[in-house]
Amino acid sequence: MTINPDLQGRSYPAAEVYDVGREKIREFARAVKATHPAHFDVAAAEALGHSDLVAPPTFAIIVAQRADAQLIEDPESGIDFSRVVHADQRFTHHRPIIAGDRLVAELHVDGVRAMGGGAMITTRSEIFALAPGDATGAAGVREPVATTTSSILVRGEGQ
C-alpha cells in the first residue's frame, strides 16, 4: 500500500461537535496524572478567572485525533493505521478549553513526504468553539480555540 501523494493540501471540514464535559476533563486529567485543582474543582477554576473547569494542555488531542481519523479512515489515503508512528505534536492555544465548550475541528493536510518506503504526513487541526445556541456550527460563528499540528510516520514494508 502506498500513500496517496495527492493528499497534500486536502482539507476535511468540521464534522461532529465535541461537547467538553466536566467529568471528561477530570477523567483526562487523572489519565495524564494531572493534579492541578483547576481541572477538578469549579471553585478553584473560578478563582483563577475561568468560567468552569480548565482542560489540561494536551486535552485537544481528543478532538484532533477524531479529525485525523477522517484522513486515516479515508480509503483514498492509503494509510495503514497499524503502521503509524506518532513523530511530533504541537498545541497552540488561542484560549483555554473550558467545560461547556462545544468544539469542532477542521483538518488540513499540510505535508506529505516520502520517507524510504513510507511517508511522513503532517496534519493541522483548527479547533473552534461554537457560539451558544449554534447547535451544529451551521451559523458559522466560531471562536478560534486551538491549532494542533501533528506529524505521523507511516512505516513502509520492512521499516
Binding site: 483526562f28 494531572a34 483563577l48 480548565v54 489540561p56 494542555p57 494536551t58 484560549r95
Partner: protein, 145 residues
C-alpha cells in the same frame, strides 16, 4: 498566582519529578483519550509489529510531562503553546498484580527563553526513561506577568 518575568533567568531550573507508569495507566489513558491502538495494551500485537513490548502512548508521556509546567505556572491556561518530538518509545513492563511500576519517566524543566514583549517564558523539558531521551525539543510556552 503570577510569575514575575523580571525574576526569571534563562537556564533557571523549574524543578523535576518522576512519573511512574503501569499497564493500568495506559488502559486509563486509552479510555480517556480514545486512542485504542493495541500497541499500547496488547503484548502480542506490539511484539508482532516489531516493538519490544507494549509501549506508552507518546501523548501519555507528553501529557504527563507538562504537569511540571502547569504546576509551576499555577494555572493550566497559562500554557499557551506546547510541542515535542517523539524520539524513543517508552516500553512499559507488565507488573500487574504487584506494587511495582512498569516504567519510570523522569521530567525536569528549565527556562529556555524569555520574551518580555510577549510576556512569555519558554520552558524546555528534559524527559528521560530508562536512560533514553524519549521526548526531544519538548518546549512549553507559558504566559507570565
Amino acid at each position: 498566582m503570577s510569575i514575575d518575568i523580571a525574576a526569571l533567568t534563562v537556564g533557571q531550573d523549574i524543578g523535576s519529578r518522576s512519573i511512574t507508569v503501569t499497564r493500568t495507566d495506559l488502559v486509563k489513558y486509552a479510555g480517556a483519550s480514545g486512542d485504542f491502538n493495541p500497541i499500547h495494551w496488547n503484548e502480542a500485537f506490539a511484539t508482532g509489529v516489531g516493538l519490544p513490548g507494549v509501549i506508552a502512548h507518546g501523548m501519555f508521556t507528553m501529557g504527563a510531562a507538562v504537569q511540571l509546567v502547569t504546576d509551576w505556572a499555577g494555572d493550566p491556561a497559562a500554557v499557551v503553546d506546547f510541542q515535542t518530538r517523539f524520539t524513543k518509545p517508552v516500553p512499559v513492563a507488565d507488573t500487574t498484580g504487584t506494587p511495582e511500576s512498569g516504567a519510570v519517566i523522569e521530567v525536569s524543566g528549565a527556562i529556555g527563553a524569555l520574551d518580555a514583549d510577549a510576556g512569555t517564558a519558554r520552558v524546555d523539558l528534559t524527559v528521560v526513561s530508562a536512560a533514553q531521551k524519549v521526548l526531544v525539543k519538548a518546549q512549553a510556552v507559558v504566559r507570565v506577568a
